[in-house]
């Protein structure tokens, strides 16, 4: 019986190891695939130039302003007569939407985390935490629909901004999706602060308010930072909400009430129609490569900070 048990244990162990490795291999393969499809943009002249030898997708065409109708302008119009791949339109669009979402979500999520970990009674805490975490479970298409139907009208009527589908609307809807990420990480870090910190502060005569602002928040600032960074990573890759709520117009401007076009939603809309291996295809993969690298770095920073922070606190306990 016992040898049989050892055997089943071993089989199970191998099985689980293989499954775990599959995930790692999948990530590596996806990255290799994206790089393989995107990198011709740097050297393949058939992709960088059109048939007549004009540049269409070189670095300067994609990142520098182009003369269009006698004016310097950035345009993303990949299917027009002379294709225009002004990537800056999409990059700035993505950053603008993400920026709004973080500005909206971070204060709310952090305050909610402070409340839930420091002030809320046990019963109330049991309600708040799962409720906020449930926000993460709302399908993004539902949030997008909410933004399209409710939020956009509200922005038009209350703020008097036209059109109602714009960077701001998309940012707010996206913020709702980001709140649970920042909340969860901040809440976790706040709960992992040793009791002795708070007790020492209170014993020295500080009140609760002072303790939170001067002791707790400085102690968990790496955790808050990590939460915001991870939230940023989630927000910049989000496709559906932004596609539905941003108005999807390729305007490059500093105005947060202009419609915007973002990197992920552009890939989603345009990937279906294009010839495999063509210029448009390669440029979309290049955008995918930038997004992948960007979120990878952000997630790495976030995880690294959280990890070190937990270690530090564990050493103190």
């Amino acid at each position: 019986m016992s040898s049989k048990r050892i055997l089943t244990d071993k089989i199970f162990e191998y099985l689980v190891t293989i499954i775990a490795l599959t995930a790692v291999i999948a990530v590596i393969l996806i990255f290799v695939f994206i790089v393989k499809e995107a990198f011709p943009i740097f050297f393949d002249n058939e992709i960088r130039y059109d048939g007549k030898g004009n540049e269409i997708a070189t670095m300067s065409k994609m990142f520098l302003p182009q003369v269009i109708d006698g004016q310097l302008d950035f345009r993303w119009q990949p299917t027009s007569d002379i294709p225009k791949f002004g990537l800056l339109v999409l990059i700035v669009g993505s950053i603008k939407v993400t920026f709004i979402s973080i500005i909206f979500a971070a204060p709310l999520a952090i305050s909610a985390a402070i409340y839930s970990s420091q002030f809320a009674g046990r019963v109330f805490k049991e309600i708040i935490k799962p409720a906020i975490e449930l926000l993460a479970g709302i399908p993004s298409v539902v949030l997008g629909f909410f933004a399209l139907i409710v939020l956009a009208n509200w922005v038009e009527k209350v703020l008097g901004v036209k059109p109602g589908l714009n960077t701001f609307t998309a940012g707010i809807a996206l913020g709702i999706a980001v709140i649970p990420i920042i909340f969860t990480i901040t809440e976790d870090s706040l709960s992992s602060v040793p009791k002795s910190y708070v007790e020492a502060s209170l014993a020295l005569g500080a009140n609760k308010n002072q303790t939170i602002w001067r002791v707790l928040i400085p102690a968990v600032s790496p955790g808050i930072f990590a939460g915001v960074v991870l939230g940023f990573g989630r927000a910049i890759g989000e496709t559906m909400i932004v596609l539905m709520a941003s108005g999807n117009a390729g305007i490059l401007s500093a105005d947060f009430f202009d419609p915007a076009k973002t990197m992920p939603s552009t890939i989603a809309v345009e990937m279906g129609e294009i010839a495999t291996g063509g210029t448009h295809y390669t440029v979309l993969f290049f955008i995918g490569f930038m997004l992948f690298t960007f979120t990878f770095i952000l997630n790495y920073i976030g995880d690294f900070v959280v990890h070190r922070f937990k270690k530090k606190l564990a050493g103190l306990r």
């Binding site: 089943t8 119009q77 990949p78 027009s80 007569d81 225009k84 059109p163 390729g250 809309v269």
Partner: protein
Amino acid sequence: MRIKSFIMLLLLVTFSFIYCGGRKTSTNISISGSDTMLELGKQWALLYEKQHKGQTIQINGGGSGVGINALIQGRIDLANASREIKPEEIKRLEKKKWKLITYKTALDGLSIYINEKNPINELSFEQLKRIYTGEITNWKQIGGKDSKIILYGRQNSSGTYAYFRDNVLLKKDYSPTVQELSGTGSIVRKVAQDIDGIGYGGKAYTMGVKVVKVKVKDSDIAYAPTDENVASGKYPLTRDLYIYTTDKVLNGKKKGDAVEKYIQWISSEEGQKIVKDVGYYPVKKTN
């Protein structure tokens, strides 16, 4: 013991799935492409499936470009398109040694929508061009009230996007302020809500918006996209709605015949009646 019975169960489930898969007797025709033709395609499929038991038809939108691309890649049987196939796309087919087969299935008058409260009644190509390239930005410049024009349009994989650019903007680029929506339905919904909005799309979708009359030159008489004007070609934005396929699909052993039968049915009186019911104009006369 428990593991053993679990594995047995797993095997049982797997095999029963394989068994079910093997018993399939129906054929499936897959179609994708133009959003303008999506509703029409759905109505065709519904009636056809009802009349022919065992025949399933799967239809998706995405834009004419999406459909044509999927056809070239051999992923679908029929591509709906609201624009003509481009020379580059034919070249890609030729590379695969496939021959393109074209069917004209319906006529559409590409319509210009504005809000019902907008006093404008007719627009010329020149005005439309200047509006959509961003030269005219205020309704008062063309005789409306003093407010900003909000431009709605289709995403760049759409056949309607391409048709409008080639024929009205004369291949010039759209203004970057055009909000690109996926589907004519979304445009109509937006323009119905937005007093300052303008949009374009098929003539079958016009719930809650005003359809303006269109003329080529400022001095011409403007026509509305009614059935008569589309049929006679007086309406200047009259276009064909196509179904594309390849000889490879039609000669396919498994479902070549089924696809051919379906296309013949579409151009039959019954199929063309649906064209009329949905709101387009049939290519063949029906009673």
